[in-house]
């Protein structure tokens, strides 16, 4: 099955994306990537220290993976733009996941500031993937501004509460002409599978991996779940029907008349 996700001119075969924060040691990130086969890896630029004589998180991203730095720590569009430019200047490539989070209590993104950053960075030639609270109208505006994909949250970052925004994300999947990647809140492989079953293009997971007793094993499980969900979607499996069929037919009278 040749099922390729295209973002920013790159062809991606593995729809399971991985975040690199919160791990007990940086070295485990390589094992996680190898176990899962994940191709897209996000790294917080604020944590990257190229000058350090010690190990750097980038050292653990194997050759051939797509590095997507993120603007974690940015509180407004201006800071996100500065971080993105710095990322490129540091040689971290062109992919940028915009995170603008002016809320340290729940880590909720600011869609309005995020949109502003998308508008600026697309013009500067970045491949821009905005992290956002699910919102169709705002996502359409991000698409119009040239975002390469949108990344709606499944529930609050780090909450492991699962795919709670399904109803809105389902509409986004239906209406948007660009990839929809669920990011944040996914705690179990079954939830990742669910995202894929309803037609999302990829899923990004971090906390659930970093805080598991065996991050490598759970990464493998997520990879399988994402693949299973994707296959289910492509198979055209009959969606679950809400409510039962009415037992007394409503059009029976037509037959009676004939």
């Amino acid at each position: 099955m040749d099922d390729i996700l295209k973002i920013g001119g790159r062809e991606i075969r593995n729809r399971f994306f991985v975040g690199t924060g919160k791990f007990a040691r940086k070295g485990i990130i390589r094992d996680v990537l190898e176990a899962s086969g994940a191709e897209v890896v996000t790294v917080a630029l604020r944590r990257v220290d190229l000058d350090s004589k010690d190990e750097n998180v980038l050292d653990y991203v194997p050759e051939g993976r797509i590095l997507m730095t993120n603007t974690s720590g940015a509180r407004n569009a201006e800071e996100a733009v500065r971080l993105a430019r710095l990322s490129r200047a540091m040689g971290c490539g062109n992919w940028i996941k915009i995170e603008v989070i002016p809320d340290n209590k729940y880590l909720m993104p600011d869609n309005i500031e995020t949109l502003k950053a998308v508008e600026i960075l697309v013009k500067e030639g970045f491949t821009v993937l905005p992290y956002m609270t699910p919102d169709l109208v705002c996502a359409l505006r991000m698409a119009a501004a040239g975002a390469a994909a949108v990344m709606p949250l499944g529930s609050a970052i780090g909450s492991n509460r699962g795919f709670r925004t399904e109803e809105i994300v389902r509409i986004m999947v239906k209406e948007l002409d660009l990839p929809v990647i669920v990011d944040a809140g996914i705690g179990q492989p079954s939830e990742a599978a669910r995202c894929m079953e309803i037609g999302c293009d990829a899923v990004l997971v971090n906390t659930a991996l970093a805080t598991a007793e065996d991050p490598v094993m759970i990464a493998g499980a997520f990879d399988l779940a994402v693949k299973a969900g994707r296959m289910a979607y492509l198979s055209g499996v009959e969606p679950a029907i809400e409510g039962a069929e009415a037992s007394s037919p409503l059009t029976g009278f037509l037959r009676d008349q004939e």
């Binding site: 924060g21 919160k22 040691r25 944590r47 200047a89 809320d103 340290n104 909450s159 906390t207």
Partner: protein
Amino acid sequence: MKKSFYNVYREYRDLDFGVVYDNIDKVQIIRTLRSDRISSRGFLALLSPEGEKLIESLAHRAHELTMRNFGKVIHLYTPMYLSNYCDNECAYCGFKLDNKIERSTLTLEEVRRESDFIAGKGFENILILTGGSKEAAPLDYIKKCVRVLRGKFSSISVEIYELTKDEYKQLIDEGVDGLTVYQEVYDEKIYDKVHISGPKKDYVFRMEAPERALSAGMRTVNIGTLLGLGDWRKEAFFAGLHAKYLQDKFPEAEISVSVPRIRPQVSGFKPFCHVTDRGLVQIITALRVFLPRAGITLSTREGAFLRDHLLPLGITRMSAGSSTKVGGHTKCTAAVDSEQFEILDKRELDEIRKMLSDKGYQPVLKDWVNFWDNARAATTTIA
């Protein structure tokens, strides 16, 4: 929203804590531990004598919340003292005006050398401190020090005398992104008693310093109460309420809380109350459960054994390789024998990093991008 945290303090100041404690039962604490919306009264229940009986449950909940919100990561920083001149007479402090100690203020050349030494060890997050003398270490001097530091560190915090909003803004414009300011003691009467003279005697001006800094755009603020002055349950309660107030009023900022216990220093001040290790655990875990997203800072005031064991209970930031002496890292001044207080955990950065790795934590040195940071930033032509 209240005008300032002082209004919140006044709301609870005259509360009869004893009566509140008497009405707290086990069921209420268990319910609080299961809730994700904890009221101020719920927080007080966690800090109560009844809460102490459930300390193991408190610890488990605190650990779970810390993992979820921060993962297996500890941020590391180190302090650097610029000056120990002081105009304040604070009963508990080694730098107080009356103490006959060697005084010194680093020259900019000494700042350069001391900071090169610290940066050479691998630190990215530095906390610079002065005593409470605006004359010996004026704002202009601190700004010059920041200019020396900003190319070398990705995050610069200050712990200095209280400033006005405009003065905080000036420091932010120079590259400072963090402020540490402890109320020392929330109990206003004890505050008045231990702050015998000097500008620090102004309780409300001190209390509102975090708000002034945050409204000037400060990115991170670390507050705290010096444990050993007021009733520790009450003090922890007010410190938690203060952090909550700042989180609510400035959601874009990172708020953290320190839990420093008074350490011995030259004047031989005896704490008014003793906070046991068990008490410290109760404070840390109650803070974590009440404020799942707040940072909790643990300094080298505590010993290695205790620090290592407090780690999983909610700690997110630790200092390492610390010295509380002016020029203490390179031993470059005459005041190098005059410390603000004794440190207990004397481990160097490498030892702390190894301990963290062994315990399954990732030591994080860099967690911010100082936009003043070196030539790389210049090449990006920031608009």
